[in-house]
Structure formats: structure tokens, C-alpha cells
């Protein structure tokens, strides 16, 4: 009973945040609702006993990704921000596609007969570390390469394109 109450306490804000983003027109408010959704999902991780993952969710997502998105919003939204509302015809299509997908997924999920396995006990960060460095060693190394490539690629893509004086003097090039 208590578990259900806590589940609802975290599950309702995630859905509310999604609907609020769909209906909102203010981009900064959308970023705020994203943060609310991320914290609520982190709370669900805590409820499922994944304490380490919940902390990582809040640290990396809320502390990193959400702040990054807020910076992106502030760097790009001027007066000529694009209109955010879809037209009436697009709304009809959007609702049709979303409802079809929702109905299909919910019906297919409802037909599954779940076999309840043993409930995993709450775990410590050390066990996660053993799992990452043991079974998931290959993906771990790939993830480190991915992070390096993403960092270099982002720094390359977002650099300012200022014309610089080449050493010969007259000719101007852009790097």
C-alpha cells in the first residue's frame, strides 16, 4: 500500500510534466518540467532499490544535461523563436499517431503474463562496480571512447568561426 502511494507520488509528476511540455509555449518552463520529470524518475529508481542509479540520475541528468539544455535555450531563443504550436491539422495527426501507439503498446503489455522472478535486494555501488568492470567491460570501454569522441566533436562543432590572420599576412582563412 505504501509502495503504491510512493509510486503514484513519483509517477504522476512524470506524466504531468510530459503533458505540460506538450501544452506549454514557454521554453524555459519546458526545461523546468524536464527537470521535474528527471527527478521523479530518479525517485522511482530509489523506490526500486537502485539507489546508486537514482543518485547518478539526479547528478548527471539534473546537474548536467538539464542545465546544458537550459543554456542551449538561453543561447538560442531570441525574438525570432519559432512558433511552438502545431497547426490544427498537425494536431489531429499527432493525436491519432500518439493514441494509436499508446493503445497498441498498452494492449500488448496488458496481454503479457508476467513471471515474477526473485526480487533483487537493494544493492551497493560496489556491486554495480563489479558488474560494470566484469560483465559489461566491453560496453564500458566503448562508452569511454564515445565520451571522448562526443567531447571532441562538440568542442569542434561549437567553436566560434572567427577569421584569423594567417602567418603569411594578407590571406584570411577560417578555421
Amino acid at each position: 500500500m505504501l509502495e503504491k502511494a510512493i509510486f503514484l507520488l513519483f509517477a504522476v509528476p512524470t506524466v504531468v510534466a510530459g503533458v505540460a511540455i506538450l501544452l506549454s509555449k514557454n521554453i524555459v518552463r519546458m526545461a523546468f518540467w524536464l527537470i521535474a520529470m528527471l527527478i521523479a524518475v530518479g525517485g522511482l529508481y530509489f523506490l526500486m532499490g537502485a539507489y546508486f542509479l537514482g543518485v547518478i540520475q539526479i547528478m548527471v541528468y539534473v546537474g548536467g544535461v538539464a542545465v546544458l539544455l537550459v543554456f542551449g535555450v538561453m543561447l538560442t531563443s531570441r525574438q525570432l523563436a519559432p512558433k511552438l504550436r502545431p497547426g490544427p491539422m498537425e494536431t489531429v495527426w499527432l493525436a491519432a499517431v500518439s493514441m494509436a501507439l499508446l493503445l497498441g503498446l498498452v494492449l500488448s503489455v496488458a496481454q503479457v503474463r508476467w513471471v515474477q522472478g526473485p526480487i533483487a535486494s537493494p544493492n551497493s555501488p560496489a556491486e554495480i562496480g563489479h558488474s560494470v568492470m566484469g560483465d559489461f567491460l566491453g560496453p564500458f570501454e566503448l562508452a569511454s571512447v564515445l565520451l571522448l569522441v562526443a567531447m571532441l566533436g562538440a568542442a569542434y562543432l561549437a567553436r566560434p568561426k572567427v577569421p584569423v590572420q594567417s602567418p603569411e599576412g594578407s590571406k584570411e582563412t577560417t578555421i
Partner: protein, 101 residues
């Protein structure tokens, strides 16, 4: 004790909401917010099945990788959109067809 069912239903809702956000919004950064919804739905599923089905830690570790990939994706996509903004002075996705090489 709840089974994995409520988490899976919530994950379906998050997926549909994220997809609707990606489809309906024209602002590229708001589309990124929708992608975050979709990735969180996937990670929630992984953790729920890790707890109720497999009974080991593999799902949680996979969710950790989902978080890593989501952050890398957000960084690169934001860099691309900033570049786009510097060229066209908007983040309207519909103007993307003006890009030529």
C-alpha cells in the same frame, strides 16, 4: 508488492509523450527534451525488469549506460544546433532544408 506492470505502463506513457513532443515541437532544443523522455522511458524499463525479472544487476548497469549515452547525445546535438543557429539565426527545424553542404 507490485510487479513490473505499473513501471512498464508508466514507461509506455513516457515513450508516447516523448514521441509526441518530438513530433509536435518545431524548436530543436525542445525536441531534445522529448528525446530525453524517450531515453528515460527505456531506462525505467531496464531497471524495473532488473528488479522484478532477472533479479541481478545487469539491467541497472545497462541503465547506467543509457544515461552516459544520453548525456553524450545531448552534448553533440546541442553543439550541432548552436552551429545551425549561428548560420540561420533560428532553431526552427523546418528551416533545416536551407542547409546546403
Amino acid at each position: 508488492m507490485m510487479g513490473p506492470m505499473p513501471y512498464v505502463i508508466l514507461s509506455v506513457l513516457l515513450l508516447v509523450l516523448g514521441l509526441a513532443i518530438v513530433i509536435s515541437k518545431r524548436n530543436a532544443i525542445v525536441m531534445l527534451i522529448g528525446v530525453e523522455f524517450i531515453l528515460n522511458a527505456a531506462a525505467l524499463n531496464l531497471v524495473a525488469f532488473s528488479r522484478h525479472g532477472a533479479g541481478d544487476l545487469s539491467g541497472q548497469t545497462a541503465a547506467l549506460f543509457v544515461i552516459v549515452i544520453a548525456s553524450a547525445e545531448a552534448v553533440v546535438a546541442l553543439a550541432i544546433f548552436l552551429n545551425f543557429y549561428h548560420r540561420i539565426a533560428t532553431v526552427d527545424i523546418d528551416r533545416g532544408d536551407q542547409l546546403r553542404g
